[in-house]
């Protein structure tokens, strides 16, 4: 094969970037995991033998949802800034994304504190408790991992190590963040709208 002369084909042969395809595959796998937890949640709705029910104890987290979904918009702006080369803008929007995500996590933690200590709902209380904490907890875990990744990028940025050529990779990371937000849309609908 080494004797084959180079044709124009090599120059025009363009395949999708690896990182993006890899991230899509990861998102597919994670989506499959979340689907199973959502199915379990829906299946067990109304089947708790005792203990608090969703209607009794769940408050719709409107503010937290707005924060989390806005963070998708802010991260999108951040990536666009980076691609344009406006680094200061990128740093600011990225930080804002991180803050919005943190507010979401803290808010979730506060809701759990109230549920556990005030309403007596733990993961072992009943089927609702088990499925609720598992599903929301799995999502919160993914938010935490996302925040960690965002923090690392923020750190690199503050050290002056983020340049335009990193835009593609950071864009791929933002795909993960968008996925986390999309999962929240599903979880919110299932837990707080359908399930109550």
């Amino acid at each position: 094969m080494s004797a084959t002369p180079l044709t124009g084909l090599q120059a025009t042969w363009k395949l999708p970037p690896r990182g993006r395809v890899g991230m899509y595959c990861l998102i597919a796998a994670e989506a499959a995991i979340f689907t199973i937890f959502v199915v379990a949640y829906l299946f067990y709705l109304g089947k708790s033998v005792s203990g608090p029910s969703p209607k009794e104890v769940l408050a719709v987290p409107v503010f937290l949802t707005i924060c989390l979904l806005s963070s998708s918009a802010t991260i999108h702006v951040a990536v666009k800034s980076l691609k344009r080369g406006s680094f200061r803008s990128f740093g600011a929007w990225w930080l804002l994304t991180f803050l919005l995500g943190t507010i979401f996590l803290v808010g979730t933690g506060r809701e759990w504190h109230r549920l556990i200590y005030h309403d007596g709902l733990t993961i072992s209380t009943n089927l609702f408790g088990t499925t609720y904490y598992s599903l929301v907890g799995l999502h919160a875990f993914h938010v935490t991992v996302g925040l960690l990744a965002l923090a690392i990028v923020q750190f690199f940025f503050l050290c002056g190590l983020v340049h335009e050529q990193h835009a593609e990779r950071i864009d791929v990371l933002s795909l993960y963040w968008h996925f986390v937000d999309a999962v929240w849309v599903v979880v919110f609908t299932v837990v707080y709208l359908i399930g109550r």
């Binding site: 094969m1 044709t7 084909l9 090599q10 499959a32 995991i33 072992s124 088990t130």
Partner: protein, 558 residues
Amino acid sequence: MATDSLALYPTQTTSRRPLVDQLHAWITTVDHKRLGILYVLYGLLMFGVGGTEATIMRLQLLRPHNDFVSPQVFNRMFTMHGTTMIFFVAMPLVFGFANYLVPLMIGARDMAFPRLNAFSFWMTAFGGLLLYFSFLGGGGLYGAGSAPDVGWFAYAPLTSQTFSVGHSTDFWTLALLVSGFGSIGTAINVIATVVCMRCPGMTLGKMPLFVWISSVMGVLVILAVSPLTAAQVMLLVDRYLGGHFFDTQAGGSAAIWMHFFWIFGHPEVYVLVLPAFAIVSEVVPVFSRKAIFGYPVMVAATIAIAFISMSVWAHHMFTIGMTSNANTFFVLSTMAIAVPTGIKIFNWLGTMWGGKLEFRMPMLFCIGFLFQFLIGGLTGVMQAAAPFDWHLANSYFVVAHFHYVIVGAILFAIFGGVYYWFPKVTGKLLSERLGKFHFWLFFIGFHLTFDFMHVPGLLGMPRRIYTYEPGRGWDTWNLIVTVGVFFQAAGALAFALNLLWSYFCGNRAGNDPWDAWTLEWSLPSPPPAYNFSVIPEVRSRRPLWDLKHPEDPDWKYE
């Protein structure tokens, strides 16, 4: 990096690096070829372990009311045998093949994510070690633990803390969780490699079937292993956080574990069999001297199989009391999957038809595959018919069926693949003589064991029993089944000897010992670490056929 390839030649006269350095190179490698070899070696090693467990079981079942092992040990044996063979033999073997061959076949220099590749292998390897550590570390309350004894599908509520004290079940759960991450990593890698790293000219319609099938397998792993991961997290929540996912006393459902498990479990068997199809689709054309018959339909059938396989899972649950409507649906979907599967057999037949068949070792195993997959597939169709399955499920008929497909089809194809690609990997040909011993001993043993195993199932013998009553007509059949094990062991021994002997003393293979047509055969045997010095360009599905037959190239007809 150049020295890495030299390490594969045992007889090089240039100065050899110290052993510690060589081991270090293997342990830290990110080269897809080395990782592929590690996967296959790991799988073969665990095959010996799993085979030993099977031998212990068959010795116990040699005759009724035998006391070779206690019921507790026997129950651990069938759990470990199933878990080992599926997760730590078959999956590593197919991942190993994919890892080694996919980049070579598409003209790439490595997989898309080499470090993820290494991580995935070591996760799988450690998962296996974790599973086996259970023999030492599983003891819990009242010393009740040891290796898991809940069956490889670990039905709830047998796995709850109530019925499985100690940590044996946790070792099962964690080992599979860990190796599951490795599997998903490999799947992501294979898909990204195939989508993003094909050489110029290799459109999706010009990839070798092996590459097509490997990427479909990757998609299935992503969609199937994830539900298992989710279910196992739920099981851990139940066992350690007081959760009630599968706690029937709290309103939970034992059936939902079955659904989640089989949503994994059924696509899983296609994850295992698709690579067998991939190997056969490469070997049969070369040894029939003809292109594969009906390439586009083979691709379409593969995709159809993968798609339908996500909808058949509850045919493992025909006896649990689903509604007649649910049973009906799963009968339909399961029978439907038989159509694209059958089509593949016909296409392989069409490939051989009108060709010039050479019965070298790879082809011998693939022909064994064809007959045995035909039979195994048909016993599957029998079980798809739910009313028949109300007898056959959970009996030795099922055990015979799935071993027929996993051993008779998948393992035979893997053996064929080893004989086919061993020369490329090592530069040496495997001995045909030892190969024939391997094939015939294993073939006789396989048929003694698994043909006759169907009969006790038809005579009412359930599975997973450590002993059985005399007077049910099962005795003689069980004896014959056990005798077959020793022939298979002898065949496996011949195989191991062949691998060792040929590696050191086999004939040199050269680049292209089989006169084949895909890109890996254009490279030296073994290939250099970087694979291709110049990235090739292709115009058809068989680039080397075009080179060897410039007057009649494939791209004129595709």
